[in-house]
Amino acid sequence: MTLATPAWLLGLLLVPVLWYLHRSGPILRRHPVASLDLWQDESARAAQAGERRPPDPAWLRRAAILSLLCIALAEPQWQRPAARVTLWVDDSLSMLTLEDGETRLDRGLRLAQAALRESAVRDVIVRPLSNPTRAYGPVGTTTTQALRSNAGTHEPRPPAPDALARGRAHWLVTDGADDEVNSWLGNANVERVIQVASTARNVGIARVTVRPQPADQDAAAIQVLLRNGGSEPESRIVEVSAGQGILASRPVALGPGASVTLQQVVPLPMQQLTVRLVPADALPQDDHAVVDGAPLTMIAVHVDPSCPVEVARSIGAHPALRVTTSRDAGLIVDCGSAWTGRVPVPRMVLRQGPPEQFDASSLLWSQAAAGAPPLVASFPLRTRGRLDAPHPADAVLLAAGDVPLVIRRAGIPRTVETTLDLGAAELQGTDTVPLLFAFLADAALDASLLDRSAGLARGDNASQVEPRAVLEAQRRSLDTTRDDEAPFVWPFVLLAVALLAWDALSLARRLLRDHGPRASTVA
């Protein structure tokens, strides 16, 4: 317990004065007697014995009243034990909006830090809503920098409301621009919300997608999704550039909350594609997007010279593969005599041997072969060689009865082995071999090569900076929302008043006894 104005305790020095004023003893009860001579013996005996009259017992009561009032005036403060607080921080992209020279994130953390300091909360854990399992220490430079560096990379993924630790108070720093966070707040046991948002204007790039053109291997189509996340109509110029040159520049006008998709064809290959909005606004992070063009680059395939010619033709027909003779290949097709380097490269092994027929009706695709090509009528009915028995971690992608035909071996890099005879004469000129080869390449590279794209997706609401609502905590706990130094005055005042009433009652009774009406007993 602490005192707000301890100077009032000096009033306790009046207690000895109070005792001094009562030292002459209590106010005696006056009683008439017929003759004092009859009562003199007792008083004389007390006087002779040197007995000192005790002070009026009422002085204790009055001293207690004085003490209680002094303590009440000193405003005692009850110091509560420090609460444990988990500070949830909305680190979505909108929290990087610049307002008055600082981001919402920085401002929210600063306000939270002040509130925590005001509440004398010492046990603080900071968790970002984008990664609730991640925990930082108390709000400070290190935590702020860590949150700042990761902010905007992921959309908020609030934990389940029931998963919040019950032994801790939960605070939230947000701008209220994310519907998911807002709805989560409605169900979660959050005791304090620090909402920071003053700007309501922003246009941002929500998504950029680049896809190769099937009909033109030297061009790609890009789609840019813009969204006005503010409350005012906005106009921007969208600039698309690759390298030093600007490929396209288009003006765009968007109403509040509106989205628009722009399409543009750009030449390939490209190392990097940049989309930029001019002019920039309060949230510059969503005003430009840089798309890496590496996923669109064709993969070089080293083909074993002993492989059937149909293999090389299939690679040539594949939009994402190209044959190479150099050793910087991204995939090796091994037909028994392929180069085996030390650099780990995914391999596609085509077993060789005498051809054997098998029953096509017994073909069975496994669940792991998600990208299996559709069965065609000219499916090869011959195999060559034998596959080693699959290990438990291997995946049998295709089997004929109990005989595995395609196995994806466990381990990195991938190795896909097959006994299917891709060089069968009956498959010449059909699309069966290219489709099978594309399937085997996807399995070896763990990719969907026929559906390549490069892009960036920030989420549909990433540019939303206008608060959806004014947020309030659903539950307000006295333990954490009131000041740490809770006033503790009224109990003292009430006790003093009770004692005062007692004293007044005693005085009134004494007055009534000494000066009240006397009942005559004389009939």
Binding site: A34, L36, Q40, S43, A46, R53, A523
Partner: protein, 298 residues
């Protein structure tokens, strides 16, 4: 302290008075024929007087009773004493000091009842009865009178009395000059005063044919109300004293009062005064009859 004039209902009823008078008549009559008191003769009021003795003149004596011959011979005023042949004069001296009305004033009520009863009984026997109420001085006097017609005046005098709440002390000596001739005295008092009023009693005894003293006290007056401490104050003198221990103080007061009664008893025995201590918790009839019996036996 509760004081106030009594109302007629507070006095003994007529039947009580007549009952007491019948008993008292026997005791008082026999006593008159055997003792020192005046001889009581019924229905002979106004008959002549017979010379009995001489004594020195005292203030209040009738001048016509001065024996001038003896006065000249002794060189001091001497009066003639006569034997009362018809009836005696009784002076009932009632203490109306403040101490009689302390507490519940039961002492005062009892004293008035006893005085009324004695007056009724004496009037029934044909005596002349006077009432003298005293405190610091004589407060009221009902002059001597005789017969049943005098009783209402006695009652009126008693009912009109009202002891002062304070500062009225007992001065029995003030009554002495009211006694004239040969008379008997009946003092009703609590005898709380200087030297227990014994000097005044002694002086009265000198002037009275016979003297009765009825000490009135109430045990309740020696108890303190509730827990202390108290400031005790004397209603007559105004003096105060502090008292902290209730039980010890009450015990000491009871002992002091017992010592007072003992002193009075011894003094009365030595002085030929019929003395009785009366706790007002006892009925007045019993106390007065006992008192007269003891006086008769003495």
């Amino acid at each position: 302290m509760a004081t106030g004039a009594l109302n007629p209902a507070a006095l003994p009823s007529h039947a009580e008075l007549r009952s007491f008078a019948r008993v008292a008549a026997h005791l008082l009559t026999e006593h008159a024929t055997q003792g020192l008191g005046p001889r009581t003769v019924r229905r002979r009021a106004g008959a002549g007087l017979q010379h009995l003795d001489h004594r020195d003149y005292a203030p209040g004596d009738e001048v016509r009773h001065i024996d001038w011959r003896q006065t000249a011979r002794r060189q001091r005023p001497v009066i003639r004493q006569f034997e009362a042949e018809t009836s005696g004069d009784w002076f009932l001296l009632l203490d109306a000091s403040s101490s009689m009305a302390t507490g519940s004033a039961r002492k005062w009520q009892a004293a008035v009842s006893a005085t009324t009863a004695m007056a009724f009984a004496l009037l029934e026997l044909g005596h002349r009865v006077a009432i003298v109420a005293f405190a610091s001085d004589v407060l009221a006097v009902c002059p001597p009178g005789r017969g049943a017609r005098h009783f209402p005046q006695v009652v009126r005098t008693l009912l009109a009395l009202r002891p002062a709440e304070s500062a009225a002390h007992s001065n029995l000596a003030a009554c002495a000059r009211r006694l004239r001739g040969t008379a008997s005295g009946f003092v009703v008092s609590d005898f709380l005063g200087p030297a227990d009023l014994r000097p005044s009693l002694a002086a009265l005894r000198e002037r009275c044919v016979q003297l009765h003293a009825l000490e009135v006290h109430a045990t309740a007056d020696l108890q303190l109300p509730g827990p202390g401490p108290f400031e005790l104050y004397d209603v007559e003198s105004g003096a105060t004293a502090n008292c902290s221990g209730r039980a010890a103080a009450e015990s000491a007061a009871r002992a002091a009062h017992a010592a007072l009664l003992l002193r009075l008893q011894r003094f009365s025995t030595r002085s030929g005064i019929a003395f009785t201590a009366w706790d007002v918790a006892q009925p007045w009839q019993r106390v007065l009859v006992d008192h007269l019996l003891r006086a008769h036996a003495a």
